[in-house]
Assembly symmetry: D3
Homo-oligomer: 263 residues x 6
């Protein structure tokens, strides 16, 4: 099977770390292809940014999803997840949702640990969209600052371990999600230092994409996720407009994309 990984952040380094982390959960028969956003933000960190990046995610899916068995939206907070499921016909997973659903099989209450207070409102939304508020014990952040999102998982490693143990004790969490794409890969490194299971959201999202691909669900032709009929769309990224208008696919070739809108 072929899994498409869409990173709606513009950081190529982050995409590389994601691909590396995914290796440990790929089945022998899985191929993973990954793309990085070419416009937007280096690292999405608010709901306004997620709204903008959501549009970019749809652009990237429109351009790259052909021929894939499932797709992963590789940002915790899941920009455009619902919109993407409405618009496209292949199974799609995302980091926050996959982490939460997987956690539900490892504990009764999960908590999220992340690295910046500004992310919390966005992650609260992700919990609410999944409808798992009553299973979310807390969303917590260490009381220390850091220098860079690309090194934050090393800078705060000890603080996150301490916060993990405190969250188990004080908030009754049975399982912990290391939330936010910059923490990708950290779970594997600190699992032995924490007394409950840790969930790496990228690993969970890639695992669940494989699960859905293997179950081969039919695309809905009714219900909330049936693909809408053709609609006129003005001034949008051409491959996305083509998909929305049910015209032949545009994409696969970056040179076809007008300057300033490349994805």
């Amino acid at each position: 099977m072929k899994i498409l990984l869409i990173n709606p952040n513009t950081s190529v380094e982050m995409t590389e770390r994601m691909v590396a982390t995914a290796q440990s959960v790929l089945a022998p028969d899985t191929e993973l292809v990954a793309f990085t956003a070419t416009r937007g933000f280096p690292y999405i960190a608010s709901r306004a940014e997620a709204m903008i990046a959501g549009g970019i995610t749809l652009e990237m899916l429109a351009e790259h999803h052909h021929g894939c068995d499932a797709a992963v939206i590789a940002a915790f907070g899941d920009p455009s997840l619902i919109a993407a499921r409405e618009l496209f016909e292949l199974p799609i997973t995302a980091m926050a949702e996959s982490a939460m659903l997987t956690s539900c099989m490892l504990g009764e209450r999960f908590a999220m640990l992340t690295f910046s207070r500004t992310l919390v409102a966005w992650y609260e939304d992700a919990v609410a969209v999944t409808g798992l508020n009553h299973r979310c014990a807390a969303i917590r952040v260490p009381d220390v600052s850091f220098q860079s999102v690309s090194t934050v998982q090393y800078e705060l490693e000890n603080e996150i371990v301490a916060l993990a143990e405190n969250t188990v004790r004080e908030h009754g969490a049975d399982v912990l999600i290391l939330a936010g794409a910059p923490l990708t890969g950290l779970a594997q490194r600190i699992a032995h230092r924490v007394s409950v299971p840790l969930v790496d959201p990228l690993a969970a999202a890639v695992s669940q994409a494989q699960t859905l691909a293997r179950l081969k669900p039919r695309a809905a032709s009714a219900g909330r996720f049936a693909r809408p009929g053709p609609k006129p769309a003005e001034g949008l990224f051409p491959p996305l407009a083509a998909w929305i208008e049910h015209r032949p696919a545009i994409g696969g070739s970056l040179t076809a994309v007008p300057a300033g809108l490349t994805s």
Copy 2:
């Protein structure tokens, strides 16, 4: 006071109807200015479209909000409402939220009546975002089709009146919201034929914008709606990028906007 009305649909005729309906609720000292989207969809009708229109709404607000006392996002479903409140510093209302909050003072349970089944999932989301699920008795649609969104409120007038009475009786609604921008103005026309109060969402949103403007709340410098610090933003609509990067405002002049992205 000066109220900004942003129509994220591309239909100028719809904006004109909104402005006409707003007249009946403007206080003597209120000025209303209105703008229509120049890219996107003639009429937003799904969550994927709302996601895309959400980005366009932010672009329009970035360009036009300077000097206004409050803004109205004039689409039922409230594209980008939360993102806009996070990004901008003036009070912002939107049609679905204002209609629901206003309804809560006129009845214990409200219901929404709209004209197309495809809109229901989007409106369900709006109810959930407002947290008023327990006060929403139903979201209902007549079982008849129509020819055009610009005439739908005339085509389905009798069906909506019948559905209104049925919803009061069968679903226990005390107040009814005529949901969806194309129904703007209908409430006033059919109020005498329905046995409970009707809420016109555009009138409610303009009313609530005046309420907020008169209360003069300070802009938050903490909490979920504090304006984020400057962030680098690549490949975005210039006035929006300028606002996000905390650079001097771009906007007010359509000639400054690159072709294909005018809002």
Copy 3:
């Protein structure tokens, strides 16, 4: 338009402060008339007292509502709000409900700050009646006592500012309601010292009464707020009994009211 303000407490000084605070939110075309209870409690502070004051509120509305476009029940906790909406036909707002609904447009989670622990259970009920429990971050009280309800807003000013900032930080509130009629007017005085928007419940209730009056909703003839048919009523305050029995209005003249029951 003409707005009726009913203060179900017996303190005339409090009514005067309410009227003064309302000035800043009155539209140019709004007239405000205010009445103070003549029996009951100087300051309602429990649910038993609110139950008794609720009956008195209905008496006052029965006597004074004729010719008004909307009414405000000017006690936080909203005695008899639902009963009043059931019984009378003009739009009615109240301080707690209006403060909460208005807050929902200024932040995702509101908190209430008040001045006495004994009030908390009553205010919790108001949150539950509005159905906004999930948006209420906390109801908090400073840990200091005060001398008099008429000066409490000056006595505790600094403590309330400190509690406000703490509530934003510790409870995740985006907007704060200064709860309880004795705090009327405080929001305006301390807004510049608090980092999130403050809502003055009296100002919100008068604003929302104007909103409803301007929307001119029809009176319900079906649903929970349709006026009940005539009922025999024995031993009640004459203007209220007359309204309940659908007899010609009694009231408007204080000399018509029997001793011991004047309102």
Copy 4:
């Protein structure tokens, strides 16, 4: 033990039926004393009426509770139940709450069957106050009218039996509450015709009052139901004012009560 039954309706015939129905659940060592309201409504049927009757209930309790081990508020909808628990120190039960809590031990979902549509909003409130919304399958009313509340249980007997069976089948109810004081005694008469247990609210309330009296809970001196300190109260029924102001008890003698306010 001595149980006080307060009927806040003015119908003496209804009180007599209540006392008769209570006999079957009195333990050998229980004495029951009952009082009927002398002002208010023959039969409380709305939330406005319940608000007014709530004040009357407090008046009756103030006058009659001395020397009793527990009290029953004998109206379904439970006027003033919370206020009474706040104000008085003996255990107090009421018909709706007792019926629901008892039902929870006989089935997973209960439904209420009553005889008039106008009662439903009031009973919905009772469910919400108890916090058992998720266990309430439905509140239902036969589609037939009746002549008099004093004979309604005979007039609608067959319709209620049919509605009972339908509610089990269609709404998944495991146990049924015959809601509304005028149905007192009906459960016993039709139990053999219905396939699930029936709960008679008066019998349940008297049973639970005995349960509480036997458990001998101490009166709270902290928490929501601690008796408030003395408060000045103007223009209220003298025995109630005396209790609120912590003055020596007035009551037990009807001749002490001013005309027009007798309870």
Copy 5:
């Protein structure tokens, strides 16, 4: 009436304490008969143990319920309560459910105080099954260890009193449940030292069993608690298998039970 008390723990000493505590709430016409489990755990303390003890509870009920008017499952956490109500036809109460329902008449929010952290998850489940999460303020445990479950109520007496007062103040509890069979009898001893009512779960469960027995509800022949038709059952405790297969009762004689399965 005759009440059956089933202790699914294997501690006879605990059963004796239960019977002693029950005396204070028995009506003059009530007879109590009690049985202790003969296999399983001395003291059930986890959900795995409750699952196993649940099967044993059904075995004990199958053997002993004939001729009784109601039964009490005398373990807090209520092993097999729902299953027992499904299978048997007499009214059945249990300690956690009865304590919670009774508490709802004594306060708005109850809290549970217990003696070991390992019990909390099991008690959380009991709250969820009853559907009273919103009325449960907290489940708390003193931060001290103890020597033996048979003396824990004496060892931790002072710590529980201190925790009680703290829980009223910090968690807003109006009534406290002393949770866990080893605390049976403690409420009566410390009631005068705590400022809110205490509920003894065993006393509550025996009281509610009497309430149900006196109400004489008919056994359901429809709904979730209708007795299932005969089913083949292999390898089960003979009296239970007989009841499930609708064969003549086996039981009443311990000598009839095969070694290793005695209950």
Copy 6:
């Protein structure tokens, strides 16, 4: 990896169908081993039966889990799932939970279709335990009877297809779960006849077991699913007692099991 499948029903034919259905979702590197209960019920169909089968499930896991990477409890309704996760240290999935969590990635609201009304209460419990009530649109059953659980999926095939389409239309389901072990394999056969994705619970549970095994979560040493310390256990199935008492494993050899208790 090695996945253990535990069928707590006594039907070997059912286990064989489960193993056959699982083939389509096994990764190339997965080995599946399956066991059938040797005592209990041919087909668990109530909560009382699930309580008894829950104990049997723990016995089977105690005997067979050694050396496996994850286990599947192969009954819809998930007997003993929480207890098993508490007691054992390998990841464990079950049919209802896996089906629901998987459905959450394929639609916003799922519905369950099953074949017998008596199953509904049990499945409702499974939804509640997972905390997904708000995402469950309905649990439905065709209005026709059938001859045998082993052929029911063929007997009712057309009725289930019709019910599926009706449930999408009338209840707003986006994805459908074919609930109950006897329907294993049906989804694959009728997928092309239904307009939304179908989830086969057995396939979902085996998929999710592989997901968990690949993520290699550490066993919890804190939180709700930490293995309890050694406890004395009397009269239990020897391999289960050994595991609970932390004694060397008994099992793997059927000859070690006393007659009448073999699993």
